[in-house]
């Protein structure tokens, strides 16, 4: 096979074919986010399973724990579904966070990260692009979760539409911030199974040693101690306040600030890890 004159070549003679000056960081992030998003949304299997997971969680937990709503520790006048939905929202966002790390490791293994690293781009773009794609998917999952909660499970948040939207935004932001911890782990550990295990080990106690499924007061005393210092408890509290009252006061501000601080510190660590010599 022959190639038409000078179309693939490089070097001086290719100059007249027009060489590109490189792309800005914003373009890099945009192009890479679209790339990840396309993979996440275009594959119907990945899309359906990711949308189904929060729905199933809501279904199962609302059945298992419904009885708790009748115990004295439970806040009066709140249905269990109303209590549970914010926790599932936060949990859904956390799973998206984990997923960010796992997806990134798989890419490291099939070599595309190596290809991207050989290009003249800011390595952080690769990570930011992926985290944005995952944030968008997380929002999509939250919307589907809330739609099914409203339509099927009789979720009647007292906070109204504004409160629910603010709740979605806060949950997604929390997941996005925490996602950077998983991205940083991935950049330093670089092994799929290890990441999956570490992620699972981290997420499990964060979720259960919190006020996600029962009020803190209903937990055994030693777990109460853990739950109170668990950041998840505060995140869930903030989302609950937003959906139940339409206003979370200072707790939402603290949650936002924490998520951003985590994102910055972990993000910095992650880029260092990606640039690390191997």
């Amino acid at each position: 096979m022959t190639i038409a004159g000078g179309t693939i070549g490089g070097g001086p003679r290719a100059a007249d074919a027009g060489t590109w000056e490189g792309s800005g960081v914003a373009t890099q992030i945009w192009v890479l986010a679209l790339r990840s998003l396309r993979a996440l949304v275009l594959d119907p299997r990945i899309l359906v399973s990711s949308l189904l997971a929060p729905f199933l969680m809501l279904l199962v937990f609302s059945q298992i724990f419904a009885g708790i709503a009748n115990t004295p520790q439970f806040p009066a006048g709140v249905g269990y579904t109303d209590f549970l939905v914010p926790a599932i929202m936060v949990n859904t966002a956390m799973q998206s966070a984990m997923q960010t790390g796992i997806g990134l490791t798989q890419e490291t293994q099939n070599g595309i990260i190596a290809r991207l690293r050989s290009l003249p781009i800011w390595p952080g773009s690769i990570l930011v692009g992926r985290s944005i794609a995952e944030l968008i998917r997380s929002l999509l999952r939250l919307v589907v979760l809330l739609a099914s909660a409203l339509l099927i499970f009789g979720f009647r948040p007292a906070g109204g539409a504004g409160g629910v939207l603010a709740g979605i935004g806060l949950a997604a932001l929390l997941g996005w911030g925490l996602g950077w911890i998983f991205i940083a782990l991935t950049c330093w550990l670089r092994e799929v199974e290890l990441i999956q295990n570490v992620s699972g080990i981290l997420l499990f106690p964060l979720m259960f040693a919190s006020n996600a499924f029962v009020p803190v007061e209903a937990l055994p005393r030693w777990l109460q101690v853990v739950a109170v210092i668990n950041p998840m408890t505060h995140g869930i509290d903030a989302v609950r306040d937003l959906t139940h009252r339409g206003d979370a006061g200072g707790s939402a501000a603290v949650a936002v600030a924490t998520a951003l601080a985590v994102a910055v510190v972990a993000g910095f660590t992650a880029v260092k890890g990606l640039e690390r010599d191997s």
């Binding site: 096979m1 070097g11 792309s23 373009t27 290809r115 010599d277 191997s278």
Partner: protein
């Protein structure tokens, strides 16, 4: 060393070393590759070829020595260096979740192309690499060889001045290999500089003006394929006879003329190392004087395979004697 007599140096390495813990992957490697030439890198598995490519493409830092590519230092100017290079690593690195075309468009966009330019460049490359029919399919569904070609195309999107190809034809069918060879020639014709590693010696022989043989991280030999062949291999004459009886006579006759024949009864042929063309005349005259009828006479140049194998066995021997010295 620049047998092609080409332009300015594009890849210059001096005393490159690389250690991974207790493993010495590279030790004191020098390299000069001039603009518009193909340089071959040969060596056994684990010799350090990929490590050298990774250092020269600023993927990993050398533990010793300095190197520049297109004038940019691999340690101090990695970003500017990356603007000048294209890399096809030993293992295909394409985005499985994107179509062949989208893979190329992605790279073009990241290199600064506009949407339309990126699409045009992608189509151009798909055409060159015979991937037009598969262009719309997800790379996940590509065969190994197609993936390899897509990977190669991806490394050429930005029209790099220096192209690094780490075993680019491993796993390709013969037609695809020829295609890649043509692409390498076209690259060089357009002024690019190519560093090529390969396990196929005929590939290096055909494509490269100069080559470096690595063994255990050190340079075993360097030069043009011709130089290395003359340095190590010998030309041989192979004479075939109709009958084994003739062959049996030929042996002593040739030895008597001061040559060193090796008989091969299965093929009724004798192989004689030749130093000069005078040796060939001697063979013909001696056999003619003995009244022997030759059915075939061939003079063979040494192949790069022979060069390589003899370099390797020499290296193994000297390593052996060094060890023996150490014991004493």
């Amino acid at each position: 060393m620049n047998p092609a007599g080409g332009g300015e140096p594009m890849i210059v390495a001096r005393g490159i070393g690389k250690r991974y813990g207790s493993v010495t992957a590279l030790d004191g490697v020098d390299l000069d590759v001039h603009q518009g030439s193909v340089h071959g890198l040969l060596g056994h598995n684990g010799a350090g070829k990929t490590t050298l490519v990774r250092i020269l493409t600023a993927q990993t830092r050398p533990s010793a020595g300095r190197a520049t590519v297109s004038g940019f230092d691999v340690v101090d100017q990695p970003e500017r260096l990356r603007r000048k290079i294209g890399l096809t690593g030993q293992f295909a690195s394409v985005d499985e979740q994107l179509s062949g075309r989208d893979n190329l468009i992605l790279i073009a966009r990241l290199l600064g192309a506009g949407r339309r330019q990126a699409r045009a460049r992608a189509d151009e490359l798909l055409e060159s690499f015979g991937l037009v029919d598969a262009a719309g399919r997800l790379a996940r569904t590509f065969s190994g060889g197609m993936r390899r070609r897509l990977d190669l195309a991806a490394s050429l999107v930005g029209r790099p001045a220096v192209v690094f190809l780490d075993e680019p034809t491993t796993g390709l069918d013969p037609a695809a290999r020829l295609n890649v060879w043509q692409i390498v020639r076209d690259l060089v014709r357009d002024g690019a500089t190519v560093l090529l590693t390969s396990q196929y010696l005929d590939e290096i022989d055909r494509l490269s003006e100069s080559l470096t043989v690595l063994s255990d991280g050190r340079i075993l030999a360097a030069g043009s394929p011709m130089e290395l062949k003359h340095q190590v291999g010998r030309r041989t004459a192979v004479v075939r006879f109709e009958a084994v009886a003739d062959l049996k006579v030929a042996g002593p006759v040739l030895s008597g003329s001061g040559l060193r024949p090796a008989l091969d009864e299965a093929r009724t042929s004798v192989t004689v190392p030749v130093e000069t063309s005078r040796d060939i005349a001697t063979i013909v005259r001696a056999l003619d004087d003995a009244g022997l009828e030759l059915s075939e006479l061939q003079v063979a140049e040494p192949t790069l395979d022979e060069v390589y194998l003899s370099l390797m066995s020499a290296a193994a021997q000297s390593a052996g004697s060094e060890r023996a010295e150490a014991v004493k």
